[in-house]
Point group: D2
Chain length 340, copies 4
């Protein structure tokens, strides 16, 4: 961490400040005196230094970190890719392309079983489906809740596909015991109480990026889970909020290679929520694969026109057949292209 | 709600769609046929119509609401300003200027009592202070928790100032029983499970705007609380996330008059979190009062340089004396100016 | 165009407003009366209706367009893709992948000739290079200007590659006479005076997207050029400004399929300016090809470490060899994937 | 300027880099070696150092400026406020409140003369009016052009109010000879060719902030004008582009105190373009005055319903009477409040 000192600070003030830093944070402080400004360099573990505290000191002009504030999620300290393996054998982050597909909301047994069988046949490796739904309006359908979880388990039994579904509340963690991957939605990316509790369990967490979260904040939320002891975090880019309204959100595909350089965690892409439009899903799924994503999360509904939520962005099973075929072919090609 | 129909839709498709709308949502549907497009107008209560569902229909080009999707928070249906009155007599939204002041985090008894007495003497009407702190980093100070709540109650006893503090988890609601106003932070504005539970209690809720939430989404979150039966919602503008980095967030003061026109709920402004810089707090507090805010939330710390969180934006008690004097004088002047 | 009328408007006011609309804009006006609101539908050519004027009318609640405000750039009216062909035979938008490569700034003869030969050998189809440079700082290198244009022409003569370079001023148009494609930079996307003049010449214009321009505004700027008679517009996505700082801008790849659906104009992608980092260029170039872009614009410098501008995002000729090989292979694969 | 060196750089590489820096930029370079990283500090005039060049060097991890990149616009080097005085005696930045009022577009003699007389009577100190209009659509009214300038001069003669009007093209500078203040619109804030030419004349320039420009970029554009020798720059905040759609743009009032701390230039606020809604103009004008703005720019139209552009945000002369009275009263009060 580098701290720029204000002009006009006396030697006594500076000396006092350096002592305070060393005692408070157990770091070593080096000084470099320029003509117009003095700069301090802090050596040691600066992860736990509170930037707010430093910024508030009278003598401080500003500061910048040389090290990132995350450790466990940081590739610098863990150069190898994290590969997440489920008890049932599926792997994420090992170079394969995981495809999580299914309806936005679980609606009934027939629906979820039908969709599950269709997406499995098309090549999906996970079944996604919402039982608890975060909706902007209190008057909109909020999901089948516990019943939805049961229906997902039934579809898992039928197809063998592990299930991915969203949690919205700490007190539900027990209920999610037999879920294979627990999803944290974009709106809860900084629900720190939830993250802390998910850090205590031993189960993969799919952490969606918040609508206006920087990549560093996203990694800090992963760090929350990992700091609790659960290292099985999968990141999911699902679009950020910008001024553009032609798409529901702006899919930030550059986040994929940026995450790959900063972190060892696997990252997948959700083109359905990002674009909000079924017609754009195939194209952006292909682009995500070309950008190096470890997987995709795609909404598929037997009957998007009658879906109880997010129908506008759902593919039909037939459309998904095509998309899955194309992305899997492209994924193979990308390997060849990069190895050539 | 107005629905624009795609070109090329047949009479049969259109007729079927209209019947579906009428049966599904209990509305009356009018048709207007243009040369290039056909438009449907839905009459009746369209609040519960799911836009996603409509957008997903094959025949639909797009739609727009004529009515806002919120009802209880909507000024159209409740023209008079909501005035929130505490059991101890304080009122918010009645034309007075409420001032919530105190430290970002409660740190110890001496600190909170000293700050409480100083802000009261300066004119503050509420004591704010964080016991549970949402921090980006898992390694940063997370607040004194239950002990912090007790210290706040002690300071209330000492000064008579009602207390405002942030809740981060549904299971804490009981613990917040004797808090006067419960704050929902920006990161939890769309923590719908928390909002639902807060709708079941009878206590004022201070709902901060999310970092990237539109005003309509913010009002929908207020609607979540009100839909549960708790109408005592106070809105708090605290800056939105934009590309500008000179300030921590961009304070959207236009939100004040916009909220006033759309809703009957009181709205206050937090210049401390919005700007992130103590030097800007006074100016933006004055601007907020001129913009018609019902109150201010301002961070005050006995010793910002040693604050455990957010020191950079905290005022000293002496600085707060000046700010309070100025904003109260301005508030009086604004009444005169508007009545002249 | 649909106009929602305010509540409480009298029959006389409405009747007068309708007559005004019909006379002023030569459209037919239909009325649909709902319970809570009245809606007007305008039939005819609404392209030239001024939204500001309509919004300002006392009786108007709000309006929305059913038709897009652009005509010449609109795919609805020109279903076939525009293919731009240069006098020297190169085509853009015909299904091939055009690759525009070269240095940010032309620096000297040796440099531009060397880079030109290297990028040609690697597969580039156009030579790009800046002679006039838009720089944020008045103290930064502003380009070699007229001399830079001459050097570009020399490199064209040497390699046969047509040249693409940026114009910054109306009075330079004559000087750009023998440039093959004239580029309008992001900061000039709404320099309407420049767009108007470029509409009068018969030469392809590469129109970069503004940093905070919506896709519709971008198409309106294309419309400016086309309205003047020059239909040879190539769009170039180069990243938009968002809150994220990990990349210089946020590359909005969804813009590619969105443009393809809204317009018949070719669209290429510039991953160099979008990301600002050489290490991300290859990945995002591949993603752009997978997303269906008609071409790429990539910065290549013989010696990025000594480049006079934008070195951080430039590839070396060796790096470009690899990128060009990969994107061309992928482009072939994408055809196979889509045809399968 | 502080440069963080990559891990793994050899002593030889570092030594070579330091020599290059010293020779290329005539600065002195200090080294501070930490455990994990080495940091260089550059001493001397770093204004002209090209950040792109530095970032592109192989040994560089990243850099940050300690000094701002602008000099002439920088308060550090010019502590006193710039006061701009017109030949006719009006001053901007001297503590008075300048009010620039008038129609978005000049439409005809009767209109501009009537509005000029009304705004003067209400207290405006400048007449604003557009002769050349930047419009998103090529089919919208583009202004009366030269005739509009003549009408403005006529209204000036009638009322004595100096005139402010927008320039869109370098070749028009001669035509603007007798305009009192030349406005550069938001879309041309980084039209560097125009800025350079305006730096060569001796006339106040009103520089509007670009829709997505940071405050630092805005000051760099002021620096462009000042670098040419024209120090008479007035900044105008007019709203930035964000995700919020309730207002046309988001008025960033914090920019006023931020500019005041960073620069000595006067800054005014345009609540009309920022909000896009007449109903919000009064409130945001008052907030701007409370925030310390040196002036206001407000659209006033004799008949907003029939305005040829931007009618929705224009006040009637009667409405402006009220706004002008209120802001002038508030401006007096603010002086008292700050002096108490």
């Amino acid at each position: 961490m580098i701290i720029v000192i204000k002009q006009g600070v006396t030697k006594e003030q500076l000396s006092l400040f350096k002592t305070t830093l060393e005692e408070r944070f157990h770091v070593k402080v080096n000084t470099w005196e320029g003509v117009e400004s003095t700069v301090l360099g802090l050596i040691g573990d600066t992860t736990s230094i509170d930037e707010d505290w430093v910024n508030a000191q009278e003598v401080v002009e500003n500061l910048r970190r040389v090290q990132e504030p995350y450790k466990k999620a940081n590739r610098k300290f863990h150069p190898d890719n994290t590969i997440i393996e489920l008890p049932t054998g599926q792997k994420i982050g090992d170079g394969s392309l995981c495809i999580m597909a299914g309806p936005c909301s679980v609606e009934n047994e027939e629906q979820i079983n039908y969709v599950a069988e269709r997406v499995k046949a098309a090549g999906a490796t996970f079944l996604r489906g919402g039982a608890f739904k975060p909706r902007t309006s209190p008057y909109a359908f909020q999901g089948l809740k516990a019943e939805g979880l049961d229906l997902l388990k039934g579809a898992r039994k039928l197809t063998g596909l592990p299930i991915v579904t969203e949690i919205m509340r700490v007190s539900h963690i027990d209920m999610f015991e037999s879920v294979d991957i627990i999803q944290v939605g974009a709106r809860n990316m900084q629900n720190f109480e939830l993250l802390k509790e998910l850090g205590k369990i031993d189960k993969p967490i799919l952490l969606k990026r918040g609508l206006s979260s920087t990549i560093d904040e996203w990694l800090m939320s992963a760090e929350y889970i990992m700091a609790g002891g659960n290292n099985k975090v999968i990141l999911c880019e699902r679009g950020i909020r910008t001024f553009e309204t032609a798409t529901r959100n702006t899919l930030d595909l550059s986040a994929v290679p940026v995450i790959k350089s900063k972190s060892h965690l696997p990252v997948i892409v959700d083109p359905s929520h990002a674009t909000g439009k079924a017609a754009l899903v195939e194209t952006m799924a292909l682009a995500a694969v070309a950008a190096g994503a470890d997987g995709l999360m795609i909404e598929v509904h037997n009957d998007p026109k009658h879906a109880l939520s997010d129908g506008a962005q759902s593919l039909t099973p037939d459309q998904f057949d095509t998309v899955a075929r194309k992305v899997l072919t492209l994924h193979q090609t990308m390997k060849t292209i990069h190895q050539a």
